[in-house]
């Protein structure tokens, strides 16, 4: 059973996808569905072994290109619609015991090109209005398959958090004639205390308004709405800054640092988004080496985040761990 159900209280859709209850949950060693199939071994999702990166449709998708009709009847109060879209899995490497942070920069650079290709490809579907590239990393954020991978959801609408950002960016542009991300970046670079790393094309920072202790954003130094706008050289710079911040994350508490990575491109609905800029956000749940930040009453019930740390201090700590990268 899979459908979109309208939430009239929040004015947003919820995906109901009951088949996902059966998805693979911490498979035993040798049965990882994301590893390449070994000769004579358990048949995984990936039959070939000669590849750098592999992408396939999720076996347990929330959204499908040809979805079933909703199993429930909608109403004026509760509209329903088919859960149309695409859910892809992006396997970063054939290596099981690894992470994106542990990959050579050249492999991360390849991933940038694959992400760009997937963005372009999925944006061409007439039913897709937003392509969301993301990674859940670590058990602390609910990951059940440790093999290094990310996901892509191609939605049939612009999801609410993105729509809210688009609105903010549009209003800022109307008022000032300047893109909001450009304004934030100018302010952060002038202040400097929250900047973690930078190169010719990108800047990584913990923003003034961070909601998590180590919430890190990556902004393009020049206007760009989406991955599709970047040259290979710029994708290389994006790979470098990813490698730097991911390694700094791992060194913070000497653990494979958990996070949610959200890549925000402009919507793919064909409208003009010149006022919106590409950016990447990391939401790590760790606030100390032994404590996690949970989304509790204020965050989950009121949407009001309380950050009990100072972004300036956390940025300094991360910045001190950033090292030059080797290709």
């Amino acid at each position: 059973m899979s459908e979109l159900r309208w939430n009239p209280l929040l004015g947003e859709w919820t995906v109901t996808a009951t088949h996902r209850q059966d998805r693979t949950f911490f498979p035993p060693p040798g049965y990882c569905p994301l590893c390449p199939t070994a000769p004579g071994g358990f048949p995984t999702e990936v039959l070939e072994s000669t590849y750098d990166i592999v992408v396939f449709e999720n076996k347990f998708p929330s959204l499908q290109p040809n979805p079933p009709e909703p199993a429930v009847e909608g109403s004026e109060l509760y509209p329903v619609r088919p859960a149309q879209g695409v859910c892809e899995v992006v396997v970063y490497t054939p290596e099981h015991n690894s992470s994106l942070a542990q990959q050579p920069t050249s492999q991360i650079y390849k991933l940038m090109q694959v992400w760009q290709d997937r963005f372009n490809d999925l944006s061409n579907h007439d039913f897709v209005e937003y392509v969301f590239i993301f990674e859940n990393k670590g058990e602390a954020v609910g990951v059940t398959l440790p093999h290094p991978h990310g996901q892509i959801y191609a939605y049939p609408f612009v999801p609410p958090r993105i729509a809210r950002k688009v609105k903010q960016c549009s209003e800022h542009y109307e008022k000032t004639g300047v893109n909001l991300i450009a304004s934030i970046l100018k302010d952060e670079r002038k202040d400097g205390r929250r900047v973690v790393a930078e190169n010719e094309s990108f800047t990584a920072l913990i923003p003034f308004f961070a909601r998590y202790p180590y919430e890190l954003h990556i902004y393009p130094n020049a206007q760009a709405q989406a991955l599709s706008d970047f040259s290979l050289a710029e994708l290389g710079d994006l790979a470098i800054i990813f490698k730097q911040v991911l390694r700094a994350f791992d060194k913070l508490f000497d653990v494979s640092f958990p996070y949610i990575m959200a890549m925000n491109n402009r919507p793919s609905d064909g409208a003009n988004y010149n006022f919106f800029d590409f950016h990447v956000e990391f939401y790590p749940p760790m606030r100390t080496a032994t404590k996690l930040k949970f989304l509790a009453g204020s965050e989950a019930g009121a949407g009001m985040f309380i950050n009990d740390t100072l972004p300036e201090e956390k940025a300094a700590k991360l910045r001190n761990l950033v090292e030059p990268v080797v290709w």
Binding site: L47, I53, E57, K59, S106, W327
Partner: protein, 49 residues
């Protein structure tokens, strides 16, 4: 940051992709490889990108 080199575009090479139908017959899978010469994979469809 200091000492950063530009990406080794030539070393990584061009991206190639090979799209196939998965074993369940309903989903697709895309194998991405990189190299300066097209990688030979034992399947029917290979698309240079």
């Amino acid at each position: 940051m200091e000492n950063q080199e530009k990406p080794p575009e030539k070393a990584v090479g061009e991206m190639h992709k090979q799209r196939e139908t998965m074993a369940d017959g309903r989903r697709f899978i895309i194998y991405y490889t990189f190299g300066n010469e097209e990688t030979e994979l034992p399947k029917e469809v290979s698309e240079n990108v």
